[in-house]
């Protein structure tokens, strides 16, 4: 076989693998990139403004952390063919099931409000009134779920995920000093020492990387997509890719604000975008567009996570592959959640800052519970069979989860009592 023929067959093999991956790609990519939601963008922007490039190493450490936690939901969904909420009801009984479901509803709704806060703030920079943003977003999201199947929804969401990469060219536009980034950001260090404020920022970054809704969303998404046990390796690859992309985007946000806004106090990402615009109009514009996209992606996923969970438990048809007539309650709960969250942002004098604070704390109540249940479910040999957690997975997963529980609890407490860790 000559060289050209060999190249041709190699290309066909690679293309076949890529095509298969493109069919199966989705849940891991979408959930990870959607994790860079409005709250996440604010956290990264504030981190860069506060500490420059010095905490980039910490973000890189979060790649395997996010992967290990989310990978477990892939296995659980592919093997049990049921969502996380239903798995908790079934495994641990009604009390824990209702606790998880109702807490998820509350956290998701509050987080959805913060996504709308981010989206309206981003478009306000361009003079778009809040009511128009809310209306347009609700119509867009309605279109996405009503006009097609899960596959259609997923591919549109992946398109928005691509837009999330806008921070990369934005960061290059401000000509960041690559040498300084490598010197400051790769070796672990704590500028200013390991004090209360540093602790707060580390916890905020962890808290924005692993969110409770992500566990429920990815597992339900795997089920709705129809992934089977033999698709688990591709699901893992999808999750790894998503984890890497999400942290890469986070790093570029830190680089962007670390270059332009180092030493400036940042309250939110919209403020950061407006400030960056004063130095570099294009970079600031891209940052604002990215903030809107982040809020939209978060809203797209979070609203579905709630509806899927509710549908699983109440036995409603709960798939994007069904029409409204076939799954009326699924779509009613989806739109009710979406519209009510959007309307909160339009209420004059609404306590948006308090809501943003409350989200952080209430999420802390759900995250440890969801993580503990996840580990216990993955150790149920009767259900998981050969896909049960191995000892090393339990050790690594247990260490990661234990650390997350401790740190996210401290974060919740520090949000309630800001002076405690000063």
């Amino acid at each position: 076989m000559n060289f050209i023929t060999r190249c041709y067959y190699l290309f066909r093999r690679v293309w076949k693998s890529v095509s298969l991956y493109l069919v199966l790609a989705g849940p891991g990519l979408v959930v990870m990139i959607a994790d860079n939601d409005a709250g996440g963008i604010t956290t990264y922007a504030a981190t860069g403004a506060k500490y420059g490039y010095h905490l980039i190493w910490f973000l890189l450490v979060l790649i395997p952390v996010a992967y290990y936690v989310q990978e477990m939901t892939v296995r659980l969904g592919a093997v049990t063919k049921r969502g996380h909420a239903e798995a908790i009801f079934d495994g641990f009984g009604a009390f824990w099931g209702w606790f998880s479901l109702l807490d998820l509803m509350l956290v998701d709704w509050l987080t959805l409000v913060t996504e709308f806060i981010g989206m309206t703030a981003a478009l306000r920079i361009f003079g778009v009134p809040e009511w128009l943003t809310v209306l347009a977003v609700c119509l867009l999201m309605g279109f996405m779920v009503l006009n097609g199947r899960y596959w259609t929804w997923e591919k549109i969401a992946l398109g928005f995920c691509l837009l999330n990469l806008i921070y990369i060219p934005a960061a290059f536009l401000v000509h960041p000093p690559i040498g300084q980034i490598l010197a400051d950001g790769i070796i672990p260090n704590f500028p200013g020492g390991f004090n209360g404020e540093m602790f707060f920022f580390l916890m905020a970054n962890i808290g924005t990387t692993i969110a409770p809704w992500m566990l429920f969303f990815q597992q339900s998404s795997v089920v709705d997509k129809g992934m089977r046990e033999k698709d688990i390796p591709w699901g893992r690859f999808d999750t790894w890719t998503g984890a890497i992309i999400t942290v890469v985007v986070a790093v570029f946000i830190v680089v962007l604000t670390g270059t332009i806004l180092h030493g400036v106090d940042i309250d939110d990402a919209a403020q950061a975008s407006a400030l960056v615009m004063q130095t570099n109009r294009y970079a600031g514009t891209m940052m604002a567009i990215g903030l809107f996209d982040a809020g939209l992606l978060g809203a797209i996923c979070i609203s579905l996570a709630s509806s899927w969970a509710f549908g699983e438990i109440f036995g409603w048809a709960h798939s994007l592959n069904t029409k409204i007539k076939e799954a009326p309650w699924f779509y009613v709960s989806y739109f009710f959640t979406l519209v009510s969250a959007g309307l909160v942002v339009l209420i004059p004098g609404a306590p948006l800052v308090l809501i943003t604070l409350f989200v952080q704390v209430v999420a802390v109540t759900l995250l440890p519970a969801a993580l503990v249940f996840l580990i216990l479910l993955l150790n149920d040999r009767e259900t998981m069979g050969g896909h049960c957690n191995t000892r090393s997975q339990n050790v690594i997963g247990g260490l990661i989860i234990g650390t997350i529980i401790v740190l996210s609890t401290c974060y919740g407490i520090s949000a309630l009592f800001p002076g405690l860790f000063a």
Binding site: D90, F92, G93, W96, F314, T365, P368, L377, L416
Partner: protein
């Protein structure tokens, strides 16, 4: 059918559904071995403490 009647039927239907869900999941499927019991007990204590802190904080905030 009046609106009030429709709403009452809706609630009655969903209450019955909730009772059915509670009956269906009354017995946890996962064997409650000692490590599982300890994990769930630790979780309950943890949540009680955290919710207690939340209530304390918001009470203090409201009184101020």
């Amino acid at each position: 059918m009046s609106i009030a009647h429709a709403v009452r039927s809706l609630f009655a239907g969903n209450l019955e559904k909730i009772r059915d869900i509670n009956r269906r999941y009354a017995t946890p499927r996962i064997a409650m071995s000692l490590p599982v019991r300890l994990a769930l007990l630790a979780l309950r204590v943890y949540l009680l403490l955290l919710v207690g802190l939340l209530v304390y904080k918001f009470t203090i905030t409201l009184m101020q």
